[in-house]
Symmetry: C2
Subunit: 573 residues, 2 copies
């Protein structure tokens, strides 16, 4: 393609409102433009990258016999009401009415749609397993869209769904899809980790997240420095061996703590470590039900673990007014003794091992000492779990190595949904014995548009974007210095034709611009191989630049045809 | 691909709620399923057809240097308010608010979006012309969605936009795009006509519509039996040579018509032809402004011509209450004499040639005779035009041949928009002389999803769908009768591998079904070439069926590799 006809509005200045590198580079190089908050136009260079990524995904999905199809983007609200997500999804769900005043939503994901479709079309286990997927625009009304393509209100997803007759079928589909994703990301040329994900968000039992390490990532990846254990911070577990309290139980005793509002103040007053005190945090769900979580005083509660433990969504910290109304005291004086019956009590495993311990008395300015779980609270085993927010330096859950933290971008997430959706939507098949069973499902997403940001974060440098050859908008960028020079013009045409005949995508900078402008734009847009046609054209010599490693060298044009595939691969070093 | 892993829910019975052939066949063959009124899932076979159509479009767009890109589907209402279409588009525009209570719409088309983008990025004529396009889901809240993919609330469009510095640039872009569309539809293998379209709907000056003749078409195509003149009914013109009235003007006279409510009753009472009487029709726009259109009594008013004449949108016939309130009489007694000043009067060219004619007196049960335009109405030349709804048998506008009618499906529409959008949205460039000029635009749409229906209407037969090879979901359908037979199994594998190595898409029916079921499904889904591997596999012989022309013949399997391209072409006979 000729660059004079390519819509590629590069900028000379870094856009001031872009916080992270990928956002800055994609704007500056003319790949994207914001059209509203959190909604972007993908300009032609970005579209070419998207098309190449989608091509790779289609090939790898075909290789595992996944069926490409597509369902509507507008969904009847009724379907999501039946699954319970119409309310549970929260304000990020776009809701509206059509001209007949019927309720609809814009789909952020399509578990319900595919479940309903398969439930009505598939009646026998003999037709299973089936794998279906689509590549489609999705919608999520983010409160604070930011970081360019990383958190947007409209984005492109590949969402796949597997339908099996039993758990073994799901396990196999899940393994196949994971393997296909590994191939996809290897072909794209992106660095990533597979980590333990939060399956609860999708109502599933088990999930793996593909995370691309990058400074701009919104997620914290927790990984062991000794094994390949890695997890999203919200799922990360550390090592703990239970040591139940076996000392003598002292009498329960209330005492005044008028000035001690925090655990640290309390620890200082009592001259004990925070880890020996109990801290009580109260959370609420959308319905206003309260959950009190007791931990030792030295770490933070991980609400995602609490949600998954209770198998509910949307927990958040309760405000002090609601807490005081229900428990009788404000923050700083809460504790497990004498909780109202309608407040659910959960206790972290470390706190459950405390004895003769101190906690708030649910009375402002008062604490108890010498609390003991069985005697004073009647704690049951099924109220105890791991609710700790992991910390850097913790011993990893397998007892080997320490946990390290890094930032990551979630680029894919695969879920074992089980029967979460098929059960409530009535998607059943008859099994070998003629019994009706719920289909066992998985769902498998790739965030396609955010992959552009992930690649830009990982590969971009001071001069601009750097695309792996497999997803670059063009393979080769031919930059003639002066097209009025007959030798240069002729060599440009010959080279373009010869490379195109090899099936390569070639961009020719035919603009009437100074060489400096052309080179700066070329570095900025990041095509893997640049061939400069200049004064030595008459001698049959051009200059080659490999964008990724900044190498520049002269080459006889006659050698290029043979060496181009090596040059393109070289880009990935 | 193996058919056992393809999601292809064919039906044995014709769906009762589908009115037209294409809708019936696409449902029955497992290509589409309704997910809500006017919203369909494209199942895997349909998705394959869509992908092939999109591939052809991409190639032909690249050949004319059009840039693929994409803009958001959710658009800020503010942009459409500025262009005036937020109100003018009517109730088919999906409107909603986001969580911050800001107004948005779902894009049914994107003239405004691209105009704003190009207006902000392109500053000089030197960067023009530019051609951009996208392939995207569009939304239109149809009051009565029907006919399967022909009238839906969510559909796939290819929409392209050209930006030029002057009218010559637009003319050239329009010609290039028309030529590209001709190539696209030739490659797809669809019958179509290029007809005069209604440019007014998009605010343009000139348009051409690509219409696929089909019984299920919602449009009436009017064409000359002598020339290549063809137009949408709403735009069709017939031949008329003006013969101004030159007789003696008789005195104006009111007379009672108590029982004559229609033109026919009046013509009978007066014993004159309806063509000598004036009929007055009153229309209203959304703002309630009235337009009275006078025609001769023998034909119908074409409101689209009236809209385009006045350069407004959304005219519809006024109800009798509004008419009576404004003009003083109900239907049957309306006329041009003594109209209120705030009612716009337009007169069809034939009616303008009447003299001493009869029309209603705007008084119930009263008419005038001997009306003469200059004397009684003060008619001006700029109130006269062609407002006739063409009729089959009319002389064509060039005076050659008669107009015939047929039904057609609008598959594409290309518009010269001129400066309709660039002017109101401020999209200007500096021209050669440094003056700011409005960009001159065109817009070019292809209805991709409805192409499936158009092809199904034109090509489908009693057995099912018939796909032209270029867009068929698979090229070859291999149907082994019995895969437990070692010869058949081996030949099936060999054939599949050999055809795939030629780059062909091959579907293998590996299901454990009776031969009759396999054949019926094969005919239904309409893959161009079917190869049946049966008892003669041991002898190296298979049976070939060309779906389009129902030919069946035996062939040595060794010959297939060489003859497959001929067989695929043969399909288009």
């Amino acid at each position: 393609m000729k660059q004079s006809q390519l819509f590629m509005p590069t900028l000379r200045e870094l856009p001031s409102d872009a916080e992270v590198k990928s956002h800055q580079l994609l704007l500056k190089a003319g790949y994207i433009r914001p059209m509203a908050a959190g909604m972007f136009a993908y300009l032609p260079l970005a579209q070419r990258v998207l098309n190449k990524i989608e091509g790779i995904i289609r090939e790898e999905m075909l290789a595992v016999n996944a069926n490409e199809m597509s369902v509507p983007e507008i969904l009847p609200a009724e379907l999501w009401k039946r699954s319970g997500r119409y309310e549970a999804y929260g304000p990020e769900l776009y809701k509206f009415q059509n001209r007949q005043k019927r309720d609809f939503i814009l789909g952020p994901t399509h578990e319900e749609t595919f479940t309903e479709l398969m439930g009505s079309e598939i009646k026998s286990y003999k037709k299973l397993p089936l794998l279906v997927y689509q590549i489609q625009t999705k919608f999520r009304d983010e409160n604070r869209p930011r970081f360019g393509l990383l958190r947007t209100r409209e984005f492109i997803m590949k969402d796949a769904y597997s339908f099996s007759a039993d758990q073994e079928g799901l396990d196999k589909a899940f393994r196949n899809m994971e393997a296909a994703y590994v191939k996809i990301f290897a072909r794209i040329g992106l660095d990533y980790r597979i980590i333990v994900g939060d399956a609860g968000a999708m109502g599933g039992s088990d999930s793996k997240e593909f995370s691309a390490p990058a400074a701009a990532g919104e997620d914290t990846i927790v990984y062991s420095d000794a094994t390949d254990y890695a997890a999203n911070l919200e799922m990360a577990k550390d090592f703990y061996e239970s040591k139940p309290f076996e000392g003598e139980e002292e009498p329960l005793e209330k005492f005044a703590t008028p000035n001690e509002k925090t655990i640290d103040e309390l620890a200082e007053k009592l001259d004990v470590p925070a880890s020996s005190l109990a801290k009580t945090v109260v959370a609420t769900n959308e319905a206003g039900q309260l959950v009190a979580i007791v931990t030792t005083g030295d770490f933070e509660v991980n609400l995602v673990k609490v949600q998954n433990f209770l198998n509910i969504g949307d927990l958040e910290l309760a405000d002090e007014g609601a807490v005081k109304a229900a428990l009788g005291a404000g923050f700083g004086s809460l504790g497990p003794v004498g909780l109202p019956d309608d407040v659910t009590l959960l206790v972290d495993q470390r706190a459950a091992d405390l004895g003769n311990f101190v906690a708030g008395a649910n009375e402002d300015g008062q604490h108890y000492r010498n609390i003991n779980w069985k005697r004073d609270v009647d704690l049951q085993d099924d109220q105890v779990g791991d609710f700790r927010l992991a910390r850097e330096g913790d011993l990893a859950v397998d007892g080997k190595g320490k946990l390290n933290f890094t930032r990551g971008i979630e680029i894919a997430h695969i879920f074992k949904l089980g029967t979460r959706y098929s059960k409530v939507l009535g998607a059943t098949v008859l099994d070998q014995n003629g019994r009706s069973v719920d289909m066992v499902m998985g769902s498998y997403g790739i965030g396609i548009s955010r992959l552009l940001s992930a690649i830009a974060e990982q590969k971009g440098d001071d001069e601009g974007l750097v695309w792996p050859a497999a997803v670059a908008p063009f393979d080769v960028h031919i930059v003639p210095i002066n097209l009025k020079d007959a030798d240069q013009a002729k060599m440009t045409d010959t080279l373009e034709a010869s490379l195109k005949s090899q099936g390569l995508d070639v961009l020719v900078d035919d603009r009437k611009e100074r060489a400096g402008v052309k080179f700066a734009d070329a570095d900025l847009i990041g095509i893997p191989v640049r061939i400069t046609v200049g004064k030595k054209a008459a001698e049959g010599v051009v200059e080659v630049k490999v964008r990724a490693n900044h190498t520049n060298f002269e080459m006889r044009v006659s050698e290029i045809e043979d060496s181009i595939s090596v040059l393109l691969r070289g880009e990935e070093n």
